[in-house]
């Protein structure tokens, strides 16, 4: 067992866990943050994506101890209380959510893209979305949501 202090959504969580525990298990099983999903356990589907030091990473194929001294943001840390992030808002509005299992990962990747580039090309949006497997939507509505969120964020930033 190893004692880990992980900074998740701005809160330090201290847990004694096996050194082999994945970050995904730490989040879901130790802390109870079940918004991050486990679709394949092997880094193929992308549903376990979280933000580590502002970069999207697959939490199912990284060890929890690798994330020490990092800022970890999960889907539970994206909205500001009840105020949705523009990406979340646009996903709801555009009908980009059906079963919702890939949604947290789509949001994390979208937030990462748009926080760094609020005027992304079609290809950049497609690349961002391609990080996660979605079986329900056909991706069209998610693309629309990303572009719509980008436009809102541009307006908010540049007036």
């Amino acid at each position: 067992m190893k004692i880990l202090n992980l900074n998740i959504n701005g809160v330090i969580h201290t847990k004694a866990v096996p050194a082999t525990m994945t970050l995904l298990d730490f989040l879901r099983e130790e802390v109870g943050l079940t918004g991050t999903k486990n679709g394949c356990d092997s880094g193929e589907c992308g549903c376990c994506t979280v933000m580590i030091d502002s970069k999207p990473m697959l939490s199912c194929i990284m060890l929890a101890l690798e994330a020490e001294r990092c800022d970890i943001t999960t889907i539970e840390g994206i909205a500001n209380g009840n105020d949705l992030h523009p990406v979340q808002e646009a996903m709801v509005e555009k009908g980009a959510i059906q079963c919702g299992y890939c949604t947290p990962a789509m949001v994390i990747n979208g937030v990462h893209l748009l926080e760094n580039n609020d005027n992304p090309s079609e290809t950049q949006v497609k690349e961002c979305i391609s990080a996660t497997v979605c079986r329900c939507t056909g991706y069209n509505s998610i693309e629309k949501a990303m572009h719509s969120a980008a436009s809102k964020m541009r307006k908010a930033r540049h007036g």
Binding site: N38, G39, S42, E76, V92, C99, S141
Partner: protein, 803 residues
């Protein structure tokens, strides 16, 4: 964008986000494995590494003796087999003596931690005697001394054979100007939902269990589990939490559900089980591998004159929905066009592979590919335009098909006409440069199966609505939201009838203890059936509120027994509405002379009103509680011949696709550039959700068309992961143009029909027909991989050189 006609509705036909979107986008929606039960035992399943073997011995002692292991189950612990269909309950929860597919459960362990459970699996000693398996449907037809299911008393591995013939095939082909025939082959494909199967079981101190499971069919699971565990249904409560996609892949009762529940009962502890992605592929239940030969007779003047097919579908080791699939491979060809002379012969075979079952478009997808490609060939041979020809052949409203399906509403003609216009079809078809092509195909699907799986007289769906003392409305339904948004649809029904904003309607669904029975999310039945039930429950509630309002306003309530205007007042096929004994018929009007809006109930005639809350309070004075129920059952329909109930539905949807592609003759790579879709789902209740279904069907059809296939080597699954089983990404998904298309179905709730499945089938042949237009090859095997495109091009080139 799907668009609804304006009938003056407030909620119906308006694009609304699914009511659980906000919870999902914030990571708050709880899926089965997100639920936290107190101190659960972790369940792991030991799976057979062999597709065909006898179990000689099974030693679980070392596993049981491991610290932290609480129990081990083997096949001997389960007496009863099960299956979703009462007529093929052939699957054991754990293999007993015989293993029929690679990955079949042979034992299961319950332990304090996952690590211990995994260690324990390695300590179970299984001695297998390998037996000769059968991995191919043709071989499965041959006589054998050792069929997979000797209990059926058959000499081969045939599970089900269906032959139906209508009209005069010989004459039909004689009447044809052209007869085309081809053999088509289809790989098995997987649903590839993102949430792996999961089940958790909570046990109370009286031995009752609550089973949280990722299932599309809580009711069927409830029944099967009671039988397998040999306890009454009332000791079991099935709850479906949020569900991460189904597409038919979670529409059977599963062995792991029985195992998790059995451990909970035996050990008196909560249990938790979740599949790895590999286990999802091993369990499979996907679309049947299919070998199909079809012959189509076509006349320039009369359209299709005859259609015949011989089909082998590879069912894998167990029955699942297979008997239905067998029928659907034939019967769903009875639309969207008239087929006067029709014969099909379908055999479903047992093989030593993971079983196949229901998958989106169930049974209708592969034959649709064949018929639409053959129709395209017939048009090419006779020089007719394939889009205009299809347009002229679509069923008319209120017709009976050759096999006596009652086709009521048809809205596709205007949709296809518009699609032809929008795509500039006539400027493009046959006129694009080599490598660019445009193709068309149409489809047809049921809006729910009219007949239940279990023969009983219960309604197909029942919904209960309550209103509490501060006017909060709750809809209780067994309907299973699997991500398609059925909860939202149920709420829309109640909101429209009761004049409430959508956010005032709470939905409690898919919980066998608190919600009335709905048969489940399969066969595109939920909108039509549960929708009607919700609407009818709301109409009954409306009556109670109107009566209360009249009491407050000192008015005489409407005469519900003898309405003034029988045509539009709670209309139900000429009968007077029966609120007390019977049920409201399908899609009744509810023009009762009152308007429910802005929190008021207003009499149209007298310009007097009370608030909704005042009416609720008054009604509560009479009743104590405010509660109504509504039901739906399909009318009596269908022919008087064996198997006439298969594919029988109260209404049918129609779809057309025009697809534009680019084919690279160097690489054989097909890129779908644009898909234009017209789908007649009756009234689009929620255009945003309809769009999502159309785009999702395009994705899934595209996958089957171009890349998806389960690969088996002598029964061994070769690609059980998302790296090896590729599904389309955002880069493959084409631009989508959704053409407004609707009809007003007389029985669908507010005129609605299905929008979830029928869309999938025609996109695939539309792609194939576009490929023909682009490079002149007819592809007859799915997926249309680049290597197959290249060999077809090579063959075509050689043929050209010869002639």
């Amino acid at each position: 964008m799907a668009k609804a006609p304006d009938f003056g509705y407030k909620i119906i036909g308006k694009p609304v986000p699914l009511i659980d979107s906000r919870a999902k986008v914030m990571g708050q929606a709880l899926y089965t494995d997100d639920i936290r039960l107190h101190n659960p035992l972790i369940i792991k399943i030991l799976r057979s590494p062999h597709p065909s073997a006898n179990i000689i011995s099974l030693d679980t002692n070392d596993a049981l003796n491991l610290d932290g292991v609480k129990g081990v189950l083997t096949g001997a612990d389960f007496k009863n087999t099960f299956g979703v269909l009462t007529i093929s309950k052939d699957e054991p929860a754990i293999a007993r003596d015989v293993v029929r597919y690679e990955g079949e459960p042979v034992a299961a362990v319950a332990a304090e931690t996952e690590d211990i459970a995994i260690k324990a699996l390695a300590l179970i000693k299984v001695e297998y005697e390998l037996t000769e398996g059968v991995y191919d449907s043709k071989k499965a037809l041959k006589p054998t001394e050792h069929p997979l299911h000797p209990e059926l008393g058959k000499e081969n591995n045939l599970h089900k054979n269906v032959v139906q013939e209508f009209g005069d095939m010989e004459r039909g082909f004689a009447d044809a100007d052209v007869v085309v025939e081809k053999r088509f082959r289809f790989a098995s494909i997987n649903h590839a939902f993102t949430e792996p199967h999961a089940t958790q079981v909570e046990i109370d101190n009286q031995g009752n269990i609550t089973v949280y499971s990722a299932t599309q069919v809580p009711h069927y699971l409830h029944m099967a589990m009671a039988e397998v565990l040999e306890i009454p249904q009332h000791n079991i409560r099935i709850v479906k939490p949020h569900l991460g996609g189904g597409f038919g892949g979670k529409s059977d009762p599963f062995p792991h559900e029985m195992i998790a529940a059995k451990f909970a009962l035996d050990l008196g502890r909560n249990t938790r089980l979740k599949f790895s992605r590999e286990e999802v592929f091993f369990s499979h239940h996907g679309r049947h591998q299919t070998d199909l030969t079809m012959k189509l007779g076509f006349s320039k003047d009369k359209g299709i004159t005859a259609l015949g097919l011989n089909t082998l579908i590879d069912g894998g080791a167990y029955g699942s929905f297979g008997i239905v699939t067998t029928y659907y491979n034939g019967v769903l060809l009875q639309g969207p066009y008239k087929v006067p002379n029709f014969r099909f012969h379908v055999d479903r075979l047992y093989t030593n592979k993971p079983m196949c079952g229901a998958m989106r478009g169930h049974g209708g997808v592969n034959p649709r590919f064949a018929s639409e490609v053959l129709l395209d060939m017939a048009c090419a041979e006779t020089g007719l335009d394939p889009a205009e020809t299809r347009l002229s052949m679509i069923h008319k409203e209120n017709t009976l098909t050759t096999n006596e399906y009652r086709v009521t509403s048809v809205g596709l003609r205007s949709g296809l006409t518009e699609a032809i216009k929008r795509t500039n079809w006539h400027e493009k078809h046959g006129k694009l440069p080599f490598g660019k092509g445009i193709g068309v195909a149409c489809g047809f699907f049921i809006s729910g199966s009219a007949l239940p799986i279990h023969w009983n007289k219960l309604p197909a769906s029942t919904v209960r609505i309550t209103i509490d003392h501060d006017a909060g409305v709750t809809v209780y339904s067994g309907a299973t939201d699997i991500g398609q948004g059925s909860d939202t649809m149920l709420a829309q029904m109640a909101a429209e009838v009761l004049g409430q904003p959508l956010e005032n309607i709470k939905v409690i669904s898919a919980d066998t203890r608190t919600t009335p029975v709905d048969l489940g999310s399969y066969s595109s039945r939920v909108t039509f059936m549960a929708g009607n039930a919700s609407r009818n429950a709301a109409i009954r509630m409306r009556r109670l509120l109107v009566e209360a309002a009249c009491e407050l306003l000192e008015m005489i309530p409407p005469n519900y027994d003898r309405p003034d205007k029988p045509d539009n007042f709670f209309r139900q096929g000429g009968r007077k509405p029966d609120f007390e004994q019977g049920f409201l018929g399908p899609n009744p009007d509810y023009a009762d002379g009152f308007i429910f809006e802005d929190g008021l109930i207003r009499s149209e005639k007298h310009n007097a009103s009370v608030t909704f809350l005042e009416a609720v309070e008054k009604a509560l004075e009479f009743e104590g509680i405010l509660q109504t129920s509504g039901t739906y059952r399909a009318p009596k329909m269908g022919g008087k011949f064996k198997g006439s109930g298969a594919g029988l539905s109260p209404s049918y949807s129609f779809t057309a696709f025009i697809v534009e592609v680019t084919v690279d003759p160097e690489t054989g790579f097909i890129k779908v550039d644009k898909a234009t879709c017209a789908h007649d789902c009756g009234m689009p209740l929620n255009p945003l959700a309809v769009n999502g279904q159309i785009e999702g069907c395009i994705h899934m059809g595209l996958g089957q068309a171009l890349m998806e296939e389960m690969v088996y080597d002598n029964g061994a699954t070769q690609n059980p992961s998302f790296l090896e089983y590729k599904i389309p990404s955002a880069f493959e998904q084409p631009e989508v143009d959704i053409v407004p298309c609707y009809s007003d179905d007389s029985e669908g709730p507010f005129g609605a029909k299905e929008a979830g499945e029928g869309i999938l089938a025609p996109i695939i042949p539309a792609i194939a027909n576009a490929v023909y237009d682009a490079v002149g090859i007819r592809l007859t095997q799915l997926p249309m991989r680049p290597d197959r495109v290249l060999s077809a091009l090579e063959r075509e080139k050689k043929r050209g050189e010869k002639s």
